[in-house]
């Protein structure tokens, strides 16, 4: 890390981007929380808040170091855990990375880790023990996310001298995390859905979203936060950030139209859940590509992703895995669409855009490697958690509702009538 000079404009944008990426957690919490049944909304929300809390503490302790420390033996596989343990040398107002304060870079990247873990929780709505989820989140961040983020996000000579193999050796393009975040979380979601099994009633009851206005708001907040995610990945306030921002709007607009069109043709009506899902499908697909394509390319990526993700939501019924909130159909499929389409429409490098097939092959290798690594490791971790402390709540708890069973709360108390009566004045006071 060079002792360079801070650029106040770059810093302003990155401070804001770190904030925006943090806001994606509440956005996700609404998007997911509104989509489950009323009896699970709080647990759904808690899984994201809990993941954020635990992952960020690990990030400070050793995560940043594993991702951005010098690659162990120059292997490109994992960073040096001791180099920045507890942010040694970075958590003060003088340290600089690139043209911004080191602390801002640490915060920004740390929220990527938190969000990736939180995304996974959509696959296991309504049925996971909260403690087991937190344990899984901590282990998964450590042995899946941190290595993969090193592969993809650690460029040589940026934070440390040597970085990850996908970024530096392979040269696959992934501007903001199509592989490291979305394919990674999508593959893990699939693994978890398989390990935990189906919810009672899956495939028999429709289990419709209990609060679609929250889902719409969640999609809106995610979109807003995603500007930080994508345009912030320029780690500067410049033309690259500007292009990323524009494409993040264009692709999403196209994806919404495509999703709604598929619904209208297939089901006869365009739904609000479709609009919200289209937003996320567009955002996911443009994530790796937002700095590699022009506005027309962004429209294409968005439209393809919107349509393909819309068609994928039925797969879980066909193949019988209960990916409750479509983490696979949206994040895995959308992430692959965006990563691969760079090979077709990427400016200069895409097959349709003056390039050959070279970049396309690199993109496929990058996507495949992350997918395989994540799926296998996630399955193993989840199985181990399940075999030791148990990952799933009991059927009775699931039927009664996980909110009440595990958190002793109901999401809403719209009537004052089922309020109870105090027994003792307070146990808290006696401590």
């Amino acid at each position: 890390m060079e002792q360079a000079v801070i650029n106040s404009g770059d810093t302003a944008w990155m401070l804001m981007s770190a904030g925006l990426v943090t806001l994606m957690i509440p956005g996700l919490v609404l998007f997911y929380g509104g989509m489950v049944r009323v009896k699970s909304v709080l647990n759904m929300m808690m899984m994201s808040f809990g993941a954020l809390a635990i992952v960020f503490v690990l990030w400070i302790a050793y995560g940043f170091s594993l991702v951005f420390g010098d690659s162990v033996n120059g292997s490109g596989l994992i960073g040096d855990v001791t180099q920045f343990a507890f942010l040694k040398g970075l958590d003060n107002s003088e340290a600089v990375i690139g043209t911004i304060p080191a602390a801002v870079f640490v915060g920004f990247q740390g929220m990527f880790a938190a969000i990736t873990v939180a995304l996974i929780s959509g696959a296991i709505a309504d049925r996971a023990k909260f403690g087991a989820w937190l344990v899984f989140a901590g282990i998964w961040a450590t042995i899946v996310y941190f290595p993969v983020a090193h592969w993809v996000f650690a460029f040589d000579d940026f934070v440390a001298k040597t970085g990850g193999w996908i970024a530096n050796d392979l040269g696959a393009l992934d501007f903001a995390g199509g592989t490291a975040v979305h394919i990674n979380a999508g593959a893990a979601g699939l693994a978890l859905a398989l390990v935990l099994g189906k919810r009672v009633g899956f495939g028999k009851m429709p289990m419709r979203p209990h609060n679609l206005p929250l889902v719409m708001l969640g999609a809106g907040l995610l979109w807003f936060g995603w500007f930080g995610f994508n345009a912030g990945s320029a780690i500067a306030s410049n033309g690259t950030a500007g292009l990323a921002l524009l494409n993040t709007i264009g692709a999403t607009a196209a994806a919404v139209l495509a999703w709604l069109l598929v619904e209208k043709m297939r089901d006869g009506h365009a739904t609000s859940l479709g609009a919200a899902s289209g937003v996320v499908a567009g955002l996911v697909a443009i994530t790796p590509a937002c700095a590699a394509v022009d506005a027309s390319g962004a429209l294409i990526i968005g439209a393809v992703s919107g349509a393909l993700c819309a068609l994928s939501v039925g797969l879980k019924f066909k193949f019988g895995f209960d990916d409750s909130l479509d983490v696979v159909a949206v994040h895995l499929v959308g992430g692959i669409v965006g990563t691969i389409l760079i090979g077709f429409v990427g400016v200069d490098v895409g097959l349709f855009n003056g390039g050959g097939t070279e970049q396309l092959v690199k993109q496929a290798i990058g996507a495949g490697a992350v997918l395989a690594y994540s799926f296998v490791l996630s399955y193993v971790i989840a199985k181990l958690v399940d075999l030791t402390i148990g990952f799933r709540i009991s059927v009775e708890q699931e039927l009664a509702g996980i909110d009440l069973a595990i958190h002793a709360e109901r999401g809403y108390e719209f009537s004052d009538n089922n309020q109870g009566n105090f027994l003792a004045s307070s146990r808290g006071a006696q401590e």
């Binding site: 429709p206 419709r208 297939r266 089901d267 739904t271 859940l273 479709g274 939501v313 039925g314």
Partner: protein
């Protein structure tokens, strides 16, 4: 005295209320319910999957009436609630032993 209970389509509540008003009924209790009957539920497609919804929203209306008014009130409800399409609902009457107005303690027909 009788209690008339009617299960109705929610969109007809206003019409029934007005029709009852018109014949001098100025007390009733309303609550929400859902139900199914011959209409059996309907098929919906959502997110590419098809399913039947078998409980559709209904309104439950309850009116206490004096024995002599039962038939006319029944007629008014059935007439104002009917759309002729399936799912229009049911009306039934139950015998009541005693009615009390809480505010005054009055009992029987005057309490209605």
């Amino acid at each position: 005295m009788k209690l008339i209970t009617a299960i109705l389509k929610p969109t007809k509540l206003d019409d029934v209320k007005d029709a009852l008003h018109a014949v001098g009924i100025n007390g009733m209790t309303v609550s929400e319910a859902s139900g199914f009957g011959r209409q059996g539920g309907h098929t919906e497609v959502y997110r590419g999957a098809e399913y039947t919804v078998n409980l559709v929203p209904k309104i439950r209306l309850e009116v206490l009436v004096d024995d002599k008014d039962v038939d006319s009130v029944l007629g008014v409800i059935v007439k104002s609630a009917s759309t002729g399409s399936i799912g229009d609902g049911k009306v039934w009457t139950t015998p009541i032993d005693q009615v009390i107005r809480v505010r005054t303690g009055e009992r029987g027909p005057e309490a209605i």
